[in-house]
Every structure is written in structure tokens, then in C-alpha cells.
């Protein structure tokens, strides 16, 4: 007797039924799992249809890409007038900075990008040196470059600065000035000396309690009254003072969060090896606390960058201000000009803020040691 058939190799595995894997199953599980889910999907499709389709049509399909004046963007079915942005791009980036001197602004932008990259990329060494460069050397150097009037550079008044330049100057100075102030205020708020503590709390709560616009009004209208005769600040500097005071209060709260996260043992250890208060803070506590709050600092930078758009209300021309001002140019007055301008400005702000928020998320995950 012999066995008629013996299978010598295992049978090939059958593919899983199409109802449990593949695109159909995915659709069924994620979009059509229940009646309620189906309704949600239909609502979502309707939303996409009524928002994304007109937006794409306006921004790309019907858009006008080239042209010398408003004639190009007139017509019944015209979308975004990118020719307007193209013609005004120089103004949007540099304001009315003299064309021949724009290389100085470019150089500052370049230094900013390189410096921030050196700070932001974890693998690049010399963090302490580059941080010092970006906090002290870079602002001084940029000021000399931008303002000029020395070392053979032509003087460019701050009234001629504008566009993205003013946006970046105001937000960068705001954050750089607010770091040391914020550290002092945060330490003051946690201090055991009653007067210093009260003063810090009052200062922080005062600035955090009022809207930025009143702070800007204050610095632009009230500040000149407080100065002695003959001393006057220009408009940009006044705005900078307001922004710096305002953001230092927020920064203080961010840094206080970092200080609170340092375990008590660190303070006690530092005292046990005989360090004084400032030594303890400088060598032990602040390096750890500041590292912890990097995401918080980036987040306050994001909100500060968005808030700088408010300076247009006190008559400075930041990116939004200069876009807004160009709507009045009779050469480019069309029904779509304002929408195009807002789309452009919004896109620039969005790219800056979104990339920074991604970075802050990344740092948060990197610094979070709890899951390891």
C-alpha cells in the first residue's frame, strides 16, 4: 500500500480576505464604519469641496502670474494677482531700504539663518559660543550693518526699514531682550526676599494683564512724556521697548516653569558643595532650567512673531503693514489685490510659525526623557 499523495511543502499562505486589509478595508474602518461615520465623511467631503476647490482655483488655476500693472488682473473671472506680489516683492522684504544697500539686509538675513541653524541643530557643537554670538554679537553687528553711519556704511534711517525686516527685527530684539530680563524676573519671583518678590510679581502680572496694543500705545504716546527735554527715541525704538517689556513678562513665566521643574536636590547639592546663590544659579540651576524650557522659548517666539504685526497700528510698516499700505497703490488697485496680499502675508507668517512650532515639538520629544 502506498499513500497516494503526501504534501511535502507547506501550502502557501492565502492573502487575507479583502475585507480586513487593503484600501477597501481601510476605507471601511476609517471612513464608513457606522452610519454616523458615513455622515461625518460626507460632511468632510462637502467641507473640502467648498473650501479647498475654490481656494486652489483662486490661488493657482485662475491666478495671474505676470503683468506690469493692474490691467493684467482685471476681469470677471480673475484669481489671485501674483503679479502684484512679484512687483512689490522688494518692498515686502526690505521696506524702502535703498536698493543699492540691500546687500546689508541680505547679509543680516544670512547671518540669522546660519546662527539659528547652528543653535537649532543638536549635532552642531559649540552651543554655548553660538548662543553667546546670537544673543550679543549678532544684534550689535546687525544694528551696525542695518543702520550704518559708521565704518564707511551709508546711514539708513530706521524710518526706511520695513517689511519682513521690521517684523524680524522687532520679534528678534523682543526675544533677545526678554531672555535676561525674564531670567531676572523669574528668579525674583521665586526669591525669598519679600520686596524683590512683590516687585517681580507686580511687574509680571501688570504686563501679562494688559493687551499688547495698549503697551504699544503707551510706549508710543506716553514714553516721550517721561523723557527729559532733548532726548527722543525714534518710533521703532519705542515699539521695541514696549515689545521687550511685554515679552519679558511672558518669558519670566516660561523660565519660572523651568525653574520649578528642577528637583530640590539640585539646589541642595549646589549648596552642599558651598556654592553661593549666583554661582548655584549660573552653574547648576539655569543651564538645566533653560534647556528644559527651549520649547517654551520657541513658543513665545512664535507668538511674539505673530504679535509684531500689531506695530502697524502705531504706524510702523512691518510685513503686514507694508502689504496693507500697497493696497492703496492706484497702479495695482483691483478687486483681488487685497485678498492676494493677505494670502501672501499669511503664507509667509504661516511658514515661519509652522516650522518653528514643528521644531519646538521635536525638541519637546527630544528633551522628554520620561518615556525612555
Amino acid at each position: 500500500m502506498s499513500i497516494a499523495y503526501v504534501r511535502e511543502t507547506p501550502a502557501e499562505a492565502l492573502p487575507p480576505p479583502s475585507s480586513t486589509s487593503g484600501p477597501v478595508a481601510w476605507l471601511r474602518a476609517n471612513l464608513f464604519s457606522s452610519w454616523f461615520n458615513i455622515v461625518l465623511t460626507l460632511v468632510a467631503v462637502w467641507l473640502l469641496w467648498s473650501i479647498v476647490v475654490p481656494l486652489v482655483k483662486f490661488a493657482f488655476i485662475d491666478a495671474v502670474w505676470t503683468g506690469d500693472n493692474r490691467e493684467a488682473c482685471l476681469g470677471p473671472e480673475v484669481g489671485a494677482c501674483w503679479a502684484f506680489v512679484n512687483a512689490k516683492f522688494g518692498q515686502f522684504v526690505y521696506g524702502t531700504y535703498p536698493v543699492d544697500e540691500r546687500w546689508r539686509v541680505d547679509l543680516v538675513y544670512l547671518m540669522l539663518v546660519v546662527g539659528l541653524a547652528a543653535l537649532a541643530i543638536p549635532k552642531v557643537p559649540y552651543k554655548r559660543t553660538s548662543a553667546l554670538c546670537m544673543l550679543v554679537a549678532f544684534p550689535v553687528l546687525s544694528f551696525i550693518l542695518l543702520q550704518g553711519g559708521m565704518f564707511g556704511l551709508e546711514l539708513v534711517e530706521t524710518t526706511r526699514w520695513g517689511g519682513l525686516l521690521v517684523t524680524l527685527v522687532v520679534s528678534y530684539v523682543g526675544i533677545v531682550a526678554s531672555l535676561p530680563l525674564g531670567v531676572l524676573l523669574a528668579l525674583g519671583r521665586r526669591s525669598k526676599l519679600p520686596i524683590i518678590k512683590t516687585f517681580s510679581v507686580a511687574f509680571i502680572e501688570l504686563w501679562r494683564g494688559v493687551p499688547l496694543i495698549t503697551v504699544l500705545f503707551m510706549s508710543s504716546v506716553m514714553l516721550p512724556l517721561f523723557l527729559p527735554d532733548g532726548v527722543s527715541f525714534n518710533k521703532l525704538l519705542r515699539a521695541l521697548i514696549g515689545v521687550a517689556l511685554f515679552s519679558s513678562a511672558y518669558m519670566a513665566e516660561v523660565i519660572r516653569g523651568g525653574l520649578q521643574a528642577i528637583p530640590k536636590g539640585q539646589f541642595e547639592g549646589a549648596q552642599a558643595v558651598g556654592l553661593g546663590y549666583w554661582q548655584m544659579m549660573r552653574l547648576i540651576i539655569l543651564p538645566q532650567a533653560l534647556k528644559l524650557v527651549i520649547p517654551g522659548i520657541v513658543n513665545s517666539f512664535i507668538s511674539l512673531l505673530k504679535d509684531t504685526s500689531l506695530v502697524l497700528i502705531i504706524g510702523l510698516f512691518d510685513l503686514l503693514g507694508i502689504v496693507q499700505r500697497n493696497f492703496t497703490d492706484a497702479n495695482w488697485a483691483t478687486p483681488v489685490t487685497s485678498t492676494t496680499g493677505y494670502l501672501f502675508a499669511g503664507f509667509v507668517y504661516w511658514v515661519l510659525c509652522f516650522s518653528m512650532s514643528r521644531y519646538s515639538l521635536y525638541m519637546e520629544r527630544r528633551l522628554d526623557t520620561s518615556r525612555r
Partner: protein
Amino acid sequence: MAVQNEVRAPATNGGRSLFYDPRVRGFVFQAALIVLVVLFVWSAASNAIENLREQNIASGFGFLGTTAGFDISQHLIDYSPTSTYGRAFVVGFLNTLLVAAVGIVLATVLGFLVGIARLSPNWLIARIATAYVEVIRNIPLLLQLLFWYFAVLKALPGPRQSLDFGFGIYLNIRGLFLPNPVFGPGSGLFDVAIVVAIVAVVVLARWARRRQAATGVQFPVFWTSVAMLLGLPLCGLAVAGFPVTFDMPELKGFNFSGGVGLEPEFVALALGLSLYTASFIAEIVRGGINAVSHGQTEAANALGLRGALTLRLVVIPQAMRVIIPPLTNQFLNLTKNSSLAVAIGYPDLVSVFAGTVLNQTGQALEVIFITMLVYLALSLATSAFMNWFNLRMALVER
């Protein structure tokens, strides 16, 4: 100062040990701070007095009683150009409160919807909610307000070509027009019914809680409350014979008359503020729900609670504990952000008072001081509430 080490600083005589005494140092630091602040304030004040005298600007708060002489497009209380600056201040403040209240309600509703949508198992809905949050959150509010006002509402057709949303709701370049309910005689019964319903709900909830604590028997408080809150006022109306009529907006000549007309500035501000704040609230809601650990849901399921009950009795109470403090913070932010009204000409506190009144009187010090004080009071009241809430809701740990 943190080196509170009295033992290490023995009372050896000599200047050196005095210098290293933390108490002496603390005293010196604080004295120095006081001297600095006093010097700063004194020089600022003397400069200000000097400058004011030179520029012939009056000082003091007497200007609040003088005639304003300008009109305000939207006023909740009687106001005319012959009213005083003080009254203009109140009008502006009420307008701020109005737009803040409307914005807070809209932002909360939308924010909760979007926050929950981000956690939806429906892939498409979750993605749309994420896109909404990431786009709106990363664009300056001022830009959004200007966009809604100048690019959308100011580009709408005139009254004759109004967008018609049905139910007597029209939108055009003059603003948003809604039907206005008019309560005829006998609708006092309606108000009474509402008050009675609220009182009854409170009493019922207390009674139900006490009974459940004593006997364990539950009572459907929620649905009874809804039925009473809706039913009693309806009954009141029915008894009075439905004296409510709707005043519909109608196109007469070149503009609408009747109904409630909302100014385009108000619409733009409320829309922009609520869309912007909703994106932040959505993140808070998502974070709050995520903060309730999955073990809680599983434990609730193990006890035999079904989906809706798990949400209502286990997840939401714990999530709300996390959500409410940052939520009140967002409400405060929205109120402060309503000051951006000045950019689109909505007559809020900053626009009316720190704008027009300041320009007319030139009394920058007083005007800015009052404006800041109002916002400061609002924010201190909010943080007082938050502290009270945190104390009440703090987890009682072993």
C-alpha cells in the same frame, strides 16, 4: 539669599562676615531695588510734569465730565455726540464686553467641536480638524481680522444683492441682518417661567444627589432638566397665547430696515476672534481628553459602564479638570485680543477711549492708565477665579 545658612555664618566680628551675611545682603539688595525704582519713577514723573506744562496739556480726570462731541456707531446704552467722555468710555467698555462674550461662546463651541474632531476615528474629519488648527494658529490674528473685514465683508455685494441665508438672515456690505423677536404683552409669563425652571432644576439636582447618596437610586436629572428648561417657558408662552412676533429685516430703498443689524466691523471681529481662539481651545480640549489615561476607560468598561456613561461619568470630569484653567486663560486672551478692534474700526474700549478720546483730549497719561487698569482688573478677576477653581478641583491625594 537662598543660602539660608545661619549656622555657617557665625557671629564673628568684622566687616567681612557682615558682607557675607545673607540677611544683610538681602536687605541691601532690596534697599537698592527700592532706591532704583523710586529714582526711576521720580525722574519719569518730574519729566512728565515738565513736558505737560510745556505742551499746555491739562492733567487730572476732569475731562471725563466734558462733552465728547463725536459719535459712536454702535452703542448699547444711549449715546450721542453731546454725551460726556465718561459715557463714551462706558460705551466702549460695553462694546468690548459684548464682542468678548459673543466671541467666547462661539469659540468655545467651535473649539470643542474641532478638538473632539481631531480625536475622531474618522480619518478625514481628524485630518481636516488638524489642518484647521495648524493653519489658523500660525497666522497672526490681526492679519485674519483685516482679511475678514477688508477682503471678505467689505467685498460683499450691496443691500440689493444681499446673500440670503433663509429665515430672514441677510449678509451684505452693510453687515449681517437677523430677525428680531418682539415680545408682546403677556410675555412676562415667559420670563417668570425661565426663572422658575432654573430654580426647579437646582432644587431637583440637589434632591437627586442626596437621594442617590442615601439610597443609591438614580434619577434622570439631565433629561428632566432639559425638559423643564425648554418646556416651562414654552408652556408660559402657550398660556399667554404666543405673544412673540419676529421683526424681519426688509429691503427698503437702499438698505434694510427692521430686524437686528450687526455692523460689519462687529461681524468681522467676532468671526476672526472666535475662529482664532477656537484653534487654541481645540488643542486644549484634545490635550485634556488625551490626559485621561486609557486605564480609566478600561476600568469603567470593566465596571460595566457603557460608552456614553463612561464619557459622562469618568472621562469628561477628569478631562475638564485639565481643560478649564487653560480655557479661562484663552477667554482672557480673547478679551484682550478684542482690542485689535482698533485696526478695523469697531468701537471697543481701546478704539474709542485710547483712540478717539486720547486724540481729542491729548491726556495720554490718564487715558492709557484707565485703559490698562480695566484690562488689568479683568485679568486679575480671571486669575482669582482660576485660583479658586484650582483649589476646589485639586486632586485630593493620599
